[in-house]
């Protein structure tokens, strides 16, 4: 395959960025999107140019490192995959592909296609945990049976990989899908009940402080989420928040 890549290049946080054209050939359908980027980078290095920098690590859709806005869509045109799991067979010979970083005020660009998503960490630090010490004598794991349905739903929420595609997909750059997934995991489990009121309030407060936009229920996040995190989580977060404010 021959492709025409248009890639966002930006030296560092302070510099202005721009789209640069990179024609490329010899791309095979079996390559992942990031392997295609590897091929480009190898070419650039051999020519003495600076390679395009992008975040990645596990390359199997679980660490949440990879990002990339591909032709306007976070993680590209395929559904339920991350950029590292996207394969070039989804593209056609001669295609033009525009590759940009995830865009959001709360995700400033570090360089090229790499953004700073530490705002997500801070939301979780604000309350995304259960306060239990490591003692070796907590209760037996089977002491509290948990309804399978609730456990499965908690698991579905917990599979969020913290990639930020939901934010990049949203016209308001809202982090509601992410935050709601985190809140839901704990809200659905008995262990999470004790701190439920503080948790939802603190996490939502931090989310606002970070400069994420408001949720206007467009649902774009759910469509682009590589892990299929459902909008039901946002509804649950809203319920939790409402009941917390009435209680608190």
């Amino acid at each position: 395959m021959k492709l025409n890549l248009k890639i966002w290049r930006q030296k560092d946080a302070k510099s202005q960025g721009q789209i640069v054209d990179y024609p490329i050939k010899g791309i095979e359908g079996d390559m992942s999107f990031l392997e295609m980027m590897d091929v480009l980078n190898e070419e650039l290095i051999n020519k003495g140019d600076e390679p395009v920098q992008f975040d990645h690590d596990c390359r199997e859709g679980i660490c949440g490192s990879c990002s990339l806005q591909i032709n306007g869509e976070p993680h590209g045109p395929d559904r339920l995959v991350t950029t590292c799991q996207l394969h070039m067979r989804k593209f056609n010979d001669g295609d033009t592909i525009v590759i940009e970083p995830f865009r959001a005020t709360a995700f400033p660009v570090i360089t090229d296609l790499i953004v700073d998503r530490s705002s997500f960490d801070r939301i979780q630090q604000a309350g995304g945990y259960i306060s239990v010490n490591t003692s070796g004598n907590t209760v037996d794991a089977n002491a509290i049976p948990i309804n399978k349905h609730d456990a499965d739903e908690a698991m579905d929420a917990a599979t969020c990989i913290g990639c930020g595609a939901c934010v990049a997909a949203c016209k308001n750059a809202s982090a509601m899908l992410f935050t709601s997934a985190k809140v839901s995991q704990f809200a659905l489990l008995p262990q999470g009940q004790v701190e439920a009121v503080d948790r939802v309030q603190n996490m939502v407060r931090q989310m606002d402080l970070e400069g994420f936009g408001n949720c206007t229920n467009t649902g774009a996040c759910e469509v682009e989420c590589p892990k299929g995190i459902s909008l039901e989580n946002i509804a649950r977060l809203n319920r939790e928040y409402l009941s917390a404010t009435t209680k608190g």
């Binding site: 920098q53 660490c63 998503r117 490591t134």
Partner: protein, 664 residues
Amino acid sequence: MDSKVPKGPLAAKWTQHKNDINLVNPANKRNIDIIVVGTGLAGGSAAATLAELGYNVKTFCYQDSPRRAHSIAAQGGINAAKNYQGDGDSAYRLFYDTIKGGDYRSREANVYRLAEESANIIDQCVAQGVPFAREYGGLLDNRSFGGVLVSRTFYAKGQTGQQLLLGAYSAMNRQINRGKIQSFNRHEMMDMVLVDGKARGIIARDLVSGKIERHSAHAVVLATGGYGNVFFLSTNAMGSNVMAAWRAHRRGAFFANPCFTQIHPTCIPVSGDHQSKLTLMSESLRNDGRIWVPKRMDDAIAIREGKLKPIQLKEEDRDYYLERRYPAFGNLVPRDVASRAAKERCDAGFGVNKTGEAVYLDFASAIQRYGAEEALTHGIKNPDEKEITRLGKGVIEAKYGNLFQMYEKIVDENPYETPMMIYPAVHYTMGGLWVDYNLQTTIEGCYCAGEANFSDHGANRLGASALMQGLADGYFVLPYTIGDYLSKDIRTGAIPTDLPEFDDAEKTVQDRLDKLMAGSGQNSVDFYHKKLGKIMWDKCGMARNAKDLQDAIDEISALRTDFWANVKIPGKADGMNQELEKAGRVADFLELGELFAKDALTRNESCGGHFREEYQTPEGEALRDDENFKFVSAWEYKGEPKDAVLHKEELKYENIELKTRSYK
């Protein structure tokens, strides 16, 4: 080598040791700093627990968030001797399975402690809100992994590592929120600083600004994961590396059993030269998948040429070679055995993909079995074949859905309809920094946990035991043993970073970076990494022999010289530069690789994942030599890897009788 294993009967050692060691009082803990490098399961759990106890903790990881450590990718599960299934499990049985699985090359006392602590891990994780899979009654579900006859593996779909890591990360977050952990993300440890022979800090590079930083502490914990990427292609994350452990090795920490590497039998085969990493298909699939190749050569050839489809092959024309060779364990033999058996069939010409390096993992019979079961439990009378298949697929999807989806995305074939193709790939490293019973390396004050140490898995790790070990080390072992060491440091006060030792270490790091940047610019870093990987795979892989290993040593040494003279790193060192990061890692792999080959050459026996062609039984099974090699090889750094000096820790088996491993 003094392993510092406490005296007394096996089952009492750990409790007795905890009672005997010194504690640090809460007020003094506030004056003690600990650096934890790595935030995977081992580092994340250690950091959270140490901070809970009151120490001031600094964590480091190269990713942008602790939550992205490689542990996140673990799929299948975590072992614990809970005996919830009532199938006869116990701490002793888990201990026994682990020692046997490791082919009698691990330390009894450590492994017993691991088995003892395993149950606590599950309790702890559930308390943190880890959503393990449950049965309809609301209790925890289990599955089986290879090399054992009980069902003791806990899991969270195919994302167990993710859920456990998020648990440890949430525990870290709680401490970050309390100000007890400072986390330095996008930071790489580049050297260790020793003051009066003790580990007192590290030199790290801020990967965003490129700045070299000094960090001091009273003790340093390395939990930096495994070095499987020395093979270039592996199931590890792209950034997994040996730098931190290797830098400590150069400063005096002995490196143990570097050649003990696990080649995992069920990975998606290589598809071409562009391949950047390999993807694991979890061992849990071997609970239900049956492994086979065609019985007849002409069928194998027809399949390779695309003229025959696997589903067209009749039962009697298939060779379920694991079930044939190992009737007792069948598809659930340990990984090293399963991998060699796949290689044996493929080398004999029965491989099923274009390159001839793949075997089938087939779910058709499981789909039928589950389908029939479902029909029965749902009261469906006389279900037709279609209905059974539909129901069976549903069960398989619930169990392994995300793995099947992953497979389909990569291979572009539907594994519900046609068997998966799999082949062995580098997955885990049992070797690592030598540690004593307290997890202390040969450098005082430098501890090592998780995959980065060598401790518990001998020559072969059993499935679902790495997560267990990482969390046991971090939650339940280190917090005690490190306290014993730190009890001597309560009057030391903060360690200043302007000591000459910090100046020296910083200069070493800076010189190294300058030297890397000064390469003549002939070849990219990946060029060297791929070459190294090929030498490793061809000559230090699933089967090794003396001649190949000697060649590997010479070739790696020459490649290293070439690398330093000719590597090409664009850009500058004073900002984000991913090529420079890679170069630093590959430079260390080029040293480790040589030591790896030397270690394999020295070990004139076959055991676990280390298979020397010269030492095998007539049936092709590994031939161990307990008389001469019942020891841990601990290598001391002396400059070039070829000059490394071997120290031996003799292994004593007082509670288990040494036997030839048999899974027949």
